[in-house]
């Protein structure tokens, strides 16, 4: 465990403590019902952030096995949220069962054992071919293509893409690989938080009311700039120079933004506002990891291409 990890820990605790104190103060000052609802939601978010920071930090401190297990659990919960909203037919039952109890565990087992070659192709090749093959045995052709697409999207987003965050621990960059996971998660999540804060404070211009009514252009730019600065400041966790860290952070925040955006579009297509309810103030697990889902694979492959032997 490096000294930099300690500093990130101190920083995160300081930010959360500040947010808790500011939230208390705002709660006393809020007068309108909408204002009060916003502050209550803000404070619920902060309380959930404490829990999330402790769980994630704890898993990282415990080591690679605990971190991999944590992400396997998050994938399971995200997949569960995906299918609780996405419709399926009885003919998909076996494919769904296999997604949860065979594909997901095998994929994370390959990650845990460091078998990169099979990890990279297991879901996109084997699950992609085997699941529809099994579905045809049910004999139901209604909406077959759309149903198979949903099975693949569910697995690819919630399991395959998300798993690229703990997969960073497979990369031999000469620095502590667990710190790459920390770097990705801190930059992506702080970008979300900073977008929220800037959006609430100076947000005027809606980015896309149809897809995600709360996102504003001002929030976006303020959030990205803040997150890139943090990414540069944290370059000591990584093998990157400050300039490289700026580039990597920019990739993380832009990809992360589109992660939230795409999953928001899916959510609205399915007629829901949140993916679930397990994280008070935020919604479901999928509402919280949507940015990681898009950022993790890009960050993984850029790092693998340029920073490993």
């Amino acid at each position: 465990m490096s000294a930099a990890f300690g500093w990130v820990l101190v920083g995160v605790i300081a930010i959360l403590a500040a947010a808790t104190i500011v939230g208390r103060a705002l709660e006393r000052r809020a007068t309108t019902p909408e204002g009060r609802a916003t502050i209550q939601n803000l404070n619920a978010r902060t309380r959930s952030w404490w829990v999330m920071a402790i769980v994630f930090g704890g898993a990282l401190a415990l080591g690679p096995a605990a971190t991999t297990l944590l992400f396997a659990g998050l994938s399971f919960m995200a997949l569960r949220e995906f299918w609780s909203l996405a419709p399926s037919r009885a003919g998909d039952h076996r494919a769904l069962f296999l997604s949860f109890f065979v594909a997901l565990p095998i994929h994370y087992l390959l990650l845990g054992t460091g078998w990169y070659g099979l990890f990279a192709v297991f879901i996109p090749v084997y699950a992609f071919l085997i699941l529809p093959a099994i579905s045809t045995l049910a004999g139901d052709v209604t909406d077959f293509l759309a149903r198979q697409a949903k099975v693949q999207w569910g697995l690819m987003l919630t399991v395959y893409m998300l798993s690229h965050a703990p997969a960073l621990m497979m990369l031999d960059t000469g620095t502590d690989p667990a710190m790459l996971v920390l770097y990705l998660v801190v930059v992506a999540q702080l970008s979300d938080v900073a977008q929220y804060v800037f959006g609430k404070l100076i947000g005027r211009t809606r980015f896309s009311p149809n897809v995600s009514p709360s996102k504003t252009v001002e929030g976006l730019l303020g959030g990205w700039a803040t997150a890139v600065l943090i990414g540069v400041a944290l370059h000591g966790l990584t093998p990157f120079s400050p300039l490289q860290a700026a580039g990597m952070s920019l990739v993380i925040v832009v990809a992360g933004f589109f992660g939230g955006f795409v999953l928001s579009a899916v959510k609205r297509d399915l007629g829901a506002k949140d993916w679930g309810y397990v994280i008070a103030g935020h919604g479901g697990v999928l509402d919280r990891v949507d940015s990681i889902i898009f950022a993790a694979p890009l960050f993984f492959h850029l790092t693998r291409y340029w920073f490993t032997p």
């Binding site: 569960r80 949220e81 299918w83 609780s84 419709p87 399926s88 009885a90 039952h93 076996r94 769904l96 069962f97 949860f100 149809n210 009514p213 609205r268 297509d269 399915l270 007629g271 829901a272 506002k273 679930g276 309810y277």
Partner: protein, 210 residues
């Protein structure tokens, strides 16, 4: 805590982990008055899910109505039904003596609530089947009991008929607004209206609400 109460608590925690079983109140609030909850029937978990979704103080006074031919089938099922769920077992095929709904009447006369599945048998989950007449008889005999429609979402997909594989989706029990009494309404119309009330609580899967 007695052994039965402990078993009941364990059962409810298991149901919560397995299928979520979150209660959502739209148009009615959890009140401890005498009520007839009526829900769509899609899986073996239905009774457990609705009971788990109720707040504890309501749970204590709500008796699920269950078919004796299924729940009385083995010692374990009988223990779960009668002790853990405090179910009222009835003979749905009319083989028993007298009025099969008599035990339900007794519960409502004691100002307890009951939970019934008027479709009678498990459906495929996609549509709510026509309601049997028991609900109408209970509503007529107990005008003081509020009629609350309940829609169970996703449970049919957790374990569809004929499969033993469980897919761990989360289920929401939506409690809707009480069905208003219409004096002199024919039985068929009442049953169709009750069925429509359950169906209207199903979540919209297409389109974009705000």
């Amino acid at each position: 805590m007695s052994a039965t109460a402990l078993a009941r608590q364990i059962l409810i925690v298991l149901v919560r982990i397995l299928v979520g079983a979150r209660g959502e109140w739209v148009g009615s609030t959890p009140e401890s008055r005498s009520r007839i909850y009526f829900a769509n029937h899609t899986s073996h978990f239905d009774t457990l899910a609705v009971i788990s979704a109720l707040p504890p103080e309501l749970r204590r006074r709500t008796r699920p109505v269950a078919a004796r031919d299924y729940w009385g089938g083995s010692a374990l099922k009988r223990f779960v039904a009668e002790k853990c769920l405090r179910a009222v077992l009835i003979d749905r095929d009319g083989r028993g003596e007298g009025d099969p709904l008599a035990p339900v009447d007794e519960a409502l006369a004691r100002r307890e609530s009951v939970l019934i599945f008027p479709e009678g048998t498990r459906g495929a989950g996609e549509e709510v089947a026509a309601f049997k007449s028991g609900l109408h008889r209970l509503a007529e005999r107990h005008p003081e009991a509020e009629l609350i429609p309940v829609h169970l979402d996703n449970l049919a997909r957790v374990m569809p008929k004929g499969s033993f594989l469980i897919v761990p989706l989360t289920c929401t029990a939506r409690f809707g607004p009480p069905l208003t009494a219409v004096p002199g309404e024919p039985k068929a119309e009442f049953l169709a209206r009750a069925r429509a009330a359950v169906e209207s609580l199903a979540p919209r899967r297409k389109g974009a609400p705000t």
